[in-house]
Symmetry: C2
Subunit: 319 residues, 2 copies
């Protein structure tokens, strides 16, 4: 019976969340600050320190035996640094060392945010019991992570599973990453909205031109809106099928705002998956909605830290 | 010091090769039969038994402690069966059980042929020393395998790394597998030749319309032939970049007849890789020609068996 806690940090371009997480995945103490994303690297670190100080003020802080960090990427787990696209003040920022210093030398595990949500879904969510799984977030961007052979697979860099930036359309539209036809360039929320607008869809009186509004239009029968979701689903299917063909996962768990569109996304996705996942060993591949919600990043950061410490995959398997 | 041997089988649509392989990867005894690919499953098994009988006639057979099989795919490692596309008599054929019976109950490890060549290149070839690698064969088809975290990664089915059938062109040409725009549909030898012919290249007086002839024409400056190799290189680059982005490999080793074209393939491939492998953690990705040659399948089948027995990745790491 383990009674220790893990301090978890979930670092994104909008907020820095922290928690003390117990061995059941329960968040027993929480703290949060906005990310001063346009300010200097030191100012961003001050916000992290503020979150950690708030956690350290808890009477249970003394039970914390490790820190897990899930950060917007890319990260460099081997070097202990982060360079989040949306936090320009942090380029090669030595986050692991700084958090170690701030917590009196606790061991620190760093993974990308896609890897963190994967750890959460595998520990307690929709990928539980699956030894080989892809978990994704389809939202403003498209991220992901992998479970292979029963264990979280962050890869040496901590970024493995970065499905948003694999090309499924090698002659396709340029992606901000520099490549063409990336899954994110076709399937993210902003790109679903962009494509609908380019093809003639117009927002209603409230002026909402987001993917949420496109989803509402699609539900009301607008064919351009429906087609934009279908195209996103096709790109996701090609990317998921590629992943399964490469590493033999049997489930893809999908969360994030775009997944919130429900059957509008999942029905054409399942249909397209039949067309792209053709080899015998991937034909049983299934997709499922994520279940861990907004706390996935924190729960997953804790899970990643526990997995690293035990060397035995997700904590549920180490009990 | 280990002195035992492994019996290795390399099963393809043309030939069934066998060997006794020592712990240094040396083939100490060899045997080979043509594959009666159009005959019944039992006739094909008779050829396998013939190869095994020839090995068993060696005075060193008694030292064999395991059997490794690399087979044309798809395979089902969990079920112990094979269904090679080019051997229609074998559909769900229980090869592991049959080879176990034929060898007096030796433990049998089954992997796909792409996984086998990967095991060989990692053990003794161009991927040696790389803990995370993709190895490929680009020939009549396109196959591959993965090394992750220092160990061969066959996946639960034994087919992981099947890069030939990931789609890099989701609206592209139909592939015989049922999907569209697969790497193999663009980059295999027959497709390099097909594309050159479709775009106006014509074979010389000898009538040779193979990728080898296209390569000769490209070296002589034929722009259509050059373009066909460049397109193959682009598809390979997109597929390799996708693999690195998903599982964080730092090298792609490429063998097979098309790789024999040398710089005609590798120069545009390296150039295209810069365009598709854009994220920070994959920018150091390199490509290298395979070095293990025709024995890669046998050496790799032995390596896979040793890796399974020691549970410690490739045998070189277990010494």
């Amino acid at each position: 019976m383990h009674t220790d806690l893990v301090a978890a940090l979930d670092i994104g371009g909008t907020k820095i969340a922290g928690a003390l997480v117990d061995r059941d995945g329960t968040l027993v103490v929480r703290a949060q600050r906005p990310t001063p994303a346009r300010e200097s690297g030191e100012r961003v670190m001050e916000a992290v320190n503020g979150v950690l100080a708030e956690l350290a003020a808890s009477p249970r802080w003394g039970e914390a035996t490790a820190v897990g960090i899930g950060s917007a990427g890319p990260v460099d787990a081997a070097g202990g640094t982060v360079s989040p696209v949306n936090v320009p003040g942090w380029r090669g920022f030595p986050l692991v060392e700084r958090v170690g210093d701030a917590t009196g030398g606790l061991p620190v595990t760093l993974v990308g945010d896609g890897v963190a949500i994967t750890a959460a879904e595998h520990w307690l969510g929709a990928a539980r019991g699956h030894d080989n799984a892809l978990c994704m977030v389809v939202s403003t961007g498209v991220g992901g992570g992998l479970v292979l052979g029963g264990a979280l697979h962050p890869g040496p860099s901590g970024n493995a599973g970065h499905i948003g930036h694999i090309s499924v359309d090698l002659d396709g539209d340029p992606c901000p990453c520099g490549a063409r036809g990336c899954v994110e360039r076709i399937a993210s929320g902003p790109n679903i909205a962009r494509r609908a607008l380019e093809n003639g869809w117009r927002p209603g009186p409230d002026g909402d031109a987001s993917a949420v509004a496109v989803a509402a239009a699609a539900r009301a029968g607008d064919p351009v809106a429906v087609a934009s979701f279908e195209r996103a689903a096709q790109a996701l299917a090609a990317g998921i099928a590629a992943t399964a063909t490469l590493v033999d996962v049997d489930i893809a768990v999908i969360g994030g705002g775009v997944a919130g569109a429900g059957d509008l996304l999942f029905a054409p996705l399942r249909s397209a998956l039949r067309r792209y996942a053709t080899l015998s060993f991937v034909q049983q591949l299934t997709v499922a909605p994520a279940v861990m919600g907004n706390d996935a990043g924190l729960v997953g950061a804790a899970a990643a830290a526990l997995a690293t410490r035990t060397g035995a995959g997700i904590p549920a398997r180490a009990h």
